[in-house]
């Protein structure tokens, strides 16, 4: 019998420990500087190891112009892409205005609503703005926004038509169009730089997407349209990995493209894209990055990243914070950031981008001018050309 009692006691202890552990995993937003939610995985408690999290360490009182709660997309911080771009916007706002912010990295789609609610209903601190990053948060926010009419929200990558939500969408297809123009010209020339080179005999390009969704299809549509615009006989092969967190899947998809003759692969797949860069290095070909200048954020691969389609998520976050500070929240508005406002840009790689021939650079900037002038209509769905 003793062993049975022992066993029960152990099971009780183990289940209690397990519950605490689980609570820690799904820990909600930590409250300002009090830090009593120490086990939550939201990055604001990690003793400032990278110097970027100090925003939440002060006291939420006095002369702080605004307190922001941010819910990241399911790629998580450290993706060197979408979420990190959003964080840069906050860090910039922290430097310029002295705001404070708290961060959450949901594990999956089901948790978005929870985190949004917790920020919206918190009174200590009272969040001036809740930033929701990513298309996947649309449904959750559409449900939550009417329930908290006094809370200001901002949403990136999608539109929720509520008076308290400022929606920021990007015309990714326009930026991707430029990447298509650049890629089509490069694959037709004999070009080499860094660790990669193109094969002038084969005129193939690749596109690797994360999850098949309207946003990622905009990238694909723009890229394909850009290729069609710049060259007649260049093929684009497309593959969706099905996840933003599957680098080995991205590597396989990109390797098969390179091996069937693709010179350049453009990815829009968050952390999955690391696999694409790895494949580019293995095969001695080029890749295009996305969201941030990935030749800088992924320095190990800067010798194959020729250019990146930079999406200024940081600008969107920064602007929304600055609007809230000025008491000018653009609730109910949908702000589309395209080429003319530099919301999307083609940024050449830090290490090898300078070696792109001048006539190709000119062709890309001509295409940019033509889109801004309205001479080119870029489709948002693949196959709409």
């Amino acid at each position: 019998m003793t062993s049975d009692i022992e066993r029960r006691r152990f099971l009780k202890a183990a289940s209690a420990a397990g519950l605490v552990g689980l609570a820690g995993c799904s820990g909600g937003p930590s409250d300002g500087g009090s830090g009593d939610d120490g086990s939550s995985g939201d990055g604001s408690d990690d003793d400032g190891s990278d110097g970027s999290d100090d925003g939440s360490s002060g006291d939420g009182s006095g002369d702080v112009p605004a307190t922001v709660g941010i819910v990241y997309s399911d790629g998580g911080l450290g993706d060197n892409s979408f979420n990190d771009a959003a964080q840069q916007g906050l860090i910039q706002a922290e430097e310029d205005f002295g705001i404070e912010y708290d961060e959450s990295q949901p594990e999956g789609t089901g948790e978005f609503g929870d985190f949004q609610q917790r920020y919206a209903s918190s009174t200590d601190p009272d969040y001036d703005l809740v930033s929701c990053i990513g298309f996947n948060q649309t449904d959750a926010l559409a449900e939550n926004a009417p329930q908290f009419p006094d809370q200001d929200f901002m949403l990136v990558d999608s539109v929720v038509e509520e008076d308290n939500v400022a929606s920021y969408v990007f015309r990714e297809h326009e930026g991707s169009f430029l990447m298509g123009v650049l890629a089509a010209h490069l694959t037709e020339t004999d070009f080499s730089a860094g660790a990669g080179s193109t094969d002038p005999d084969s005129t193939n390009l690749g596109f690797v997407g994360g999850v098949d969704s309207p946003v990622i299809r905009r990238f694909q549509a723009g890229f394909e349209a850009g290729v069609d615009y710049a060259a007649d006989d260049v093929d684009v092969t497309t593959s969706y990995v099905g996840s933003y967190a599957d680098p080995s899947g991205g590597q396989e998809a990109a390797l098969s493209m390179y091996q069937s003759g693709a010179d350049i692969v453009y990815h829009a797949s968050g952390a999955t894209g690391v696999g694409v860069f790895q494949a580019a290095q293995e095969e001695g070909r080029f890749a295009f990055g996305v969201d941030l200048d990935q030749s800088i954020t992924e320095p190990e691969f800067s010798d194959v990243i020729l250019a990146s389609m930079v999406k200024r998520v940081d600008t969107a976050v920064y602007e929304s914070v600055s609007n809230v500070i000025d008491d000018d929240h653009q609730g109910g508005e949908s702000i589309a950031l395209g080429l003319e406002s530099n919301g999307v840009e083609c940024v050449y790689g830090d290490e090898i981008g300078g070696e792109v021939p001048d006539d190709i650079v000119t062709a890309v900037s001509d295409a940019r001018d033509a889109i801004i002038a309205g001479d080119i209509d870029v489709p948002t769905e693949p196959g709409d050309t």
Binding site: D74, G76, P247, E300
Partner: protein, 350 residues
């Protein structure tokens, strides 16, 4: 050892041919490939032609070898645990923890540095194995010493790793994804490890006294106890071996990219659960597990290439092909006999 006289020339083949299940699988796979190849030759422009072009390319084969490594290795580990009577459904957690630990230790040492002449990336590889073995050890203590429900404990292993690895990454690197190491372990190393581990597992299970003990511990622990072998010790050995093999798989997965990605389901993406299917599919035979893992990985590699042909089928449907085929094959030919005492606790009678 049904046929002790015949095991001198080609023991491996001989045993396999005896096994009708394995024979029907081999005939089925060879038959399907043959029909596909024939159709591909006859109608080069058709769907069959495209498919044959994909299946019989070296690129697909290499891709299969890379994708299969973590599945087969974790599956082999699962065999050892379950044969001994402990059902280990925490393989996914073991893969996650070893994937993170390998990258973490390699980055702490620093690529380019070496400890005792061993390059950092291989120290990281070993660290992944150690981390996975430790977690398997905890699982073993909970299940064997404290007689916890094996399914619940296995789920706990998965959930703990799923929460712990991204959390540690946030603490050490400031985000759920680690930075890239800038170095990686080539897939040929992991392919060799898979083959060595498969043959060694087969040998251990079928040709050594320890293999017999494992089997007895899972089928009839009382008999094992009666002849004076400690059931607990055999079961601990089985569980720890599942940790070691899963650790090899997890380290190989993360270090083939040089980075740990911890968002969502983490970069392991359910491979540990596929591994469970693989060893059940292979009916606890390491060679069968290798076959099942290669089948799944091969379908996955085919799926990736199929998408690129640009048929008017939604990509999301094409992505499900490996899972659907595995379920269909399992339903049609699957014949798994679970060890009689698997999942039961054994109380030794003094």
């Amino acid at each position: 050892m049904r046929n002790p006289l015949a095991d001198v020339p080609v023991p491996l083949l001989d045993d396999l041919i005896d096994d009708e299940y394995v024979r029907s699988l081999v005939v089925g796979v060879v038959g399907t490939l043959g029909v596909l190849g024939l159709l591909g030759l006859l109608f080069p422009g058709s769907v069959a032609g495209d498919l044959a072009g994909i299946v019989f390319s070296t690129g697909t084969a290499a891709s299969t070898a890379r994708l299969a490594a973590p599945i087969v290795l974790a599956g082999l580990g699962g065999i050892f645990a379950e044969k001994s009577g402990v059902i280990n459904i925490g393989l996914e957690g073991l893969l996650i923890i070893s994937a993170f630990a390998s990258v973490y230790i390699a980055s702490v040492i620093g690529i380019g540095n070496a400890v005792l002449g061993v390059p950092a990336i291989w120290i990281g590889f070993l660290a992944g194995i150690v981390a996975s073995t430790l977690l398997a050890g905890v699982f073993g203590v909970v299940c064997i010493e404290f007689k916890a429900d094996q399914i619940i404990a296995g789920l706990a292993v998965w959930l703990i790793a799923l929460g712990l690895a991204p959390f540690m990454s946030t603490v050490f690197f400031g985000g759920v994804n680690t930075p890239n190491l800038g170095a990686s372990v080539g897939w040929r190393y992991s392919a060799v490890m898979v083959l060595v581990a498969t043959v060694a597992s087969w040998w251990t299970l079928n040709r050594t006294a320890f293999g017999k003990h494992l089997q007895a511990s899972g089928e009839n622990p009382k008999a094992l106890d009666t002849v004076g072998v400690s059931v607990s010790r055999v079961r601990y050995a089985g569980v720890l071996l599942s940790g070691v093999l899963s650790g090899v798989g997890g380290s190989a997965l993360a270090l083939s990219i040089g980075q740990f990605v911890g968002s969502g389901e983490t970069m392991v993406q359910g491979k540990g659960f596929i591994a469970i299917v693989a060893y059940l599919f292979g009916n606890y035979n390491p060679l069968g597990t290798l076959g099942a893992g290669v089948l799944f990985a091969g379908l996955d590699a085919t799926q990736i290439r199929l998408q690129q042909l640009g048929y008017a089928i939604p990509d999301t449907l094409v992505q499900t092909i490996p899972y659907v085929v595995v379920i269909v094959v399992l339903a049609l030919v699957g014949r798994t006999r679970i060890p009689a005492a698997a999942g039961d606790h054994y109380e030794t009678e003094e």
